[in-house]
């Protein structure tokens, strides 16, 4: 392509993006001075705790009011893990060896148990303190990732075999749906923990907020296994 054409194309692109940016600026400017109504969130804030039993409103929205979104999202992780699993080469690819110093080895061995405790805490106390299935799951996923980085992929593979990971993932997802089906068996609709008053208990205690802690657990297992599988496949790709 001639040089002039290249430069013209470059400025054309910049012009495009600038026009879009200015346009959106006007829109946002106009949006600011509109009176915005938030009655749905006011309702969540005022009656959220009584209806779902969970103090952490975000978890109550995520797992009770809009539980279906979380199911959809869990499927997205599962599909991503499945895609990456069939992407990786069948034969074992040696990961590029990263020789960490002895200090790293020792610290990892020491902090792994704390990670487990932290992850579990975040999952179980998801409906009381900030946190929840996703954050806890990520921290749990860090453990196999650290092991893989530290001791190389072959060691971590036989520690936690890929089949086990996809098994865990499957169990997490199926658990989530079965808990949802509990709502139907209890007479009201799918994923109905608040409405079907599954022992809401008094808010603030560990065993409260109906199904939410168990849903949290299921999502935690699923996200943990899923992210570990994704990380391993990406590493094996290399």
């Amino acid at each position: 392509m001639s040089r002039v054409h290249k430069i013209f194309r470059k400025f054309y692109k910049i012009g495009l993006v600038l026009f879009l940016a200015i346009f959106l600026l006007f829109i946002f400017d106009e949006i600011q001075n509109l009176d915005i109504k938030r009655y749905l969130s006011e309702h969540y804030i005022s009656e959220g705790v009584q209806e779902t039993g969970a103090i952490n409103l975000v978890t109550s929205v995520l797992y009770d009011y809009r539980g279906f979104d979380t199911l959809g999202e869990a499927t997205v992780i599962l599909t991503a893990a499945a895609t990456l699993s069939f992407m990786t080469p069948i034969k074992k690819v040696k990961m590029l060896g990263t020789e960490f110093t002895i200090i790293i080895y020792q610290t990892i061995i020491i902090i792994i148990p704390f990670l487990v405790v932290l992850g579990m805490n975040l999952i179980f106390f998801g409906h009381i303190s900030p946190g929840g299935g996703f954050v806890g799951g990520v921290i749990l996923a860090m453990i196999p990732i650290l092991v893989t980085i530290n001791y190389g992929i072959t060691f971590s593979e036989n520690k936690l075999k890929p089949n086990h990971k996809s098994l865990l993932e499957g169990i997490g997802a199926i658990g989530f749906i079965l808990l949802g089906l509990l709502g139907i068996f209890a007479g009201s609709n799918f994923l109905a923990s608040g409405q079907a008053n599954f022992g809401l208990g008094n808010p603030g205690e560990l065993i409260s907020a109906g199904l939410i802690p168990y849903l949290n657990l299921m999502i935690g297992i699923k996200v943990g296994a899923g992210l570990a599988a994704i990380f391993n496949s990406l590493i094996k790709e290399g």
């Binding site: 509109l34 749905l40 599962l78 098994l167 997802a173 609709n189």
Partner: protein, 488 residues
């Protein structure tokens, strides 16, 4: 009435269980596939039958606080397509797919769940989530063959469609910011007070985002590549369901949230119709140039989506009926064409036009089905394509878009040019071809089933039309839809 949820849950549950069974025993895997397919068919028929007075199913029994699913005739028609195409594709791919067969079936189940979710949900963010679920599984299905071409086409599809879903997410966030709720009925009530400029920007963002997934002309470039490189059973689903669920979601948004008055006032209907005409003229011209059969059918799908866009963007009752009937017809016709090509590929590794020379005499009945489906998709009378095109043209004239109606006929002529080229190649005699694998009944039966549907819906269109005729009641004047969704 909780079978509406089961339509989304059953494929998901089967996919997860298959994920586990895959590790242990094949026999268990296939038996579960067959059993869940039969139950799913029964469930779909159950929901389609009692869909006339639309029903709402609220997840978690939260009513307007949580997410609601809504089954009305438009979604019932779409479930009918899912019922027809999904069953045939699963039976077809049980022994058509050789590479990654387990993964293919799992991902197809997840995609069906995503599409069923998009079709049933009456909640804006939930629509986005299920859109991502179905798109994610279609990226995976495009790349499942792991050839150079499929990896490249899957990457291009991924980037283009993510580029689109940015704008869909941006529009969803802005709608939430303006209205404070995510339930479609409440949004359309709140949207009455929003100024014109902002409302139409959000509408344009939605149209642009979904436009990429539908494949309207300037945004279509990724689609023929994905058709060329992905496995043929997935092509049937992609042209029959994935493209259609995108336009379904767009129409659901436009007619329910923005309402017909706003659409006509903002002039988007004229833009939509013009865009449809532009799409199929360019798609037909390009289709003529192709030598790879899958790419040719890909361009023809883009053209047919152009007709559907015209039908649905006319804004009158007949247009909606014609458009949705064409969605149903195109799914069936394109499904037959792809399955026949699948059998040719399965038996002779034939995917270029030259390779299928003389197959008319080697597979007489199969080529007859191909000819029937090709004539149907061109829009010649005795078949179903003609009926839906007749309805769309009539609606276009009624709505005053004479140029669009005329160009549809020009489109019919253009599509005849390249389909006839393929048919003639099919019937030119050539030297003996050795068959790599004999296609058995489980491949041929679905093809004949879809082919016979082409003829059946052409001769007796009142069968599907009885379901489709009451679509406009809940789309054109969305007050009815909103009253029911608000628990009226």
């Amino acid at each position: 009435m909780e079978s509406a949820v089961w339509i989304i849950l059953l494929p998901l549950l089967t996919a997860f269980f298959l994920g586990i069974f895959k590790l242990y025993s094949d026999k268990l895997f296939y038996s579960l596939v067959i059993v869940s397919m039969v139950i799913y068919l029964y469930l779909l028929i159950l929901v389609i039958n009692d869909s006339y007075p639309p029903k709402v199913y609220s997840i978690g029994n939260w009513g307007l606080l949580g997410i609601n699913l809504m089954v009305d005739s438009f979604s019932a028609m779409f479930l009918l397509i899912i019922a027809i195409l999904f069953i045939t594709v699963i039976i077809f791919s049980l022994n058509y797919i050789k590479v990654n067969k387990h993964k293919f079936i799992i991902l197809t189940y997840v995609m069906i769940a995503g599409i069923a979710g998009m079709v049933l949900t009456a909640d804006l963010f939930n629509l986005y989530v299920f859109l991502e679920v179905s798109s994610m599984s279609s990226y995976a299905l495009t790349a499942i063959k792991k050839t150079d071409k499929s990896i490249e086409s899957s990457f291009k599809y991924l980037i283009m469609s993510t580029f689109g879903s940015f704008f869909i997410l941006l529009a969803t966030i802005l709608t939430y910011y303006l209205t404070g709720t995510l339930n479609m009925a409440e949004i359309s009530l709140e949207f009455k007070s929003v100024p014109f400029m902002i409302k139409s920007t959000i509408m344009f963002f939605f149209i642009f985002g979904y436009g990429i997934k539908i494949g309207l002309v300037p945004l279509h470039a990724w689609m023929p590549d994905s058709y060329e490189a992905s496995p043929i059973p997935y092509n049937v689903l992609s042209s029959g369901l994935v493209m259609k669920s995108a336009i379904y979601a767009l129409i659901r948004l436009l007619y329910v949230i923005f309402g017909v008055e706003f659409l006509t006032e903002s002039g988007i209907l004229n833009i939509g119709v013009f865009w449809g005409v532009l799409t199929f003229i360019i798609a037909h011209t390009l289709a003529y140039q192709q030598s790879n059969l899958n790419r040719l059918l890909g361009y023809s799908s883009i053209a047919q989506i152009g007709y559907i866009t015209i039908g649905l963007f006319l804004g009158n009752e007949k247009g909606l009926i014609g458009g949705s009937f064409h969605i149903l017809n195109h799914g069936i016709m394109k499904g037959t064409l792809f399955l026949v090509l699948g059998i040719f590929y399965y038996s002779l590794k034939a995917d270029e036009i030259e390779d299928i020379q003389g197959l008319g005499y080697k597979f007489p009945v199969l080529s007859f089905t191909f000819v029937v489906a090709a004539l149907a998709i061109v829009g010649l009378p005795p078949f179903n394509g003609f009926i839906s095109k007749w309805l769309i043209i009539e609606a276009a004239i009624e709505a005053g878009f004479f140029y669009a109606a005329f160009f549809i006929l020009v489109g019919t002529f253009l599509s005849l040019t390249y389909y006839l080229k393929v048919i003639i190649k099919l019937y030119t005699k050539t030297e003996k071809k050795t068959l790599i694998e004999k296609p058995d009944l489980s491949l041929k039966l679905p093809t004949f089933f879809l082919g016979s549907l082409c003829i059946l819906f052409g001769i007796v269109p009142s069968l599907p039309l009885s379901l489709i005729n009451n679509i406009p009641k809940f789309l054109l004047n969305n007050s009815e839809y909103i009253r029911i969704l608000l628990g009226g």
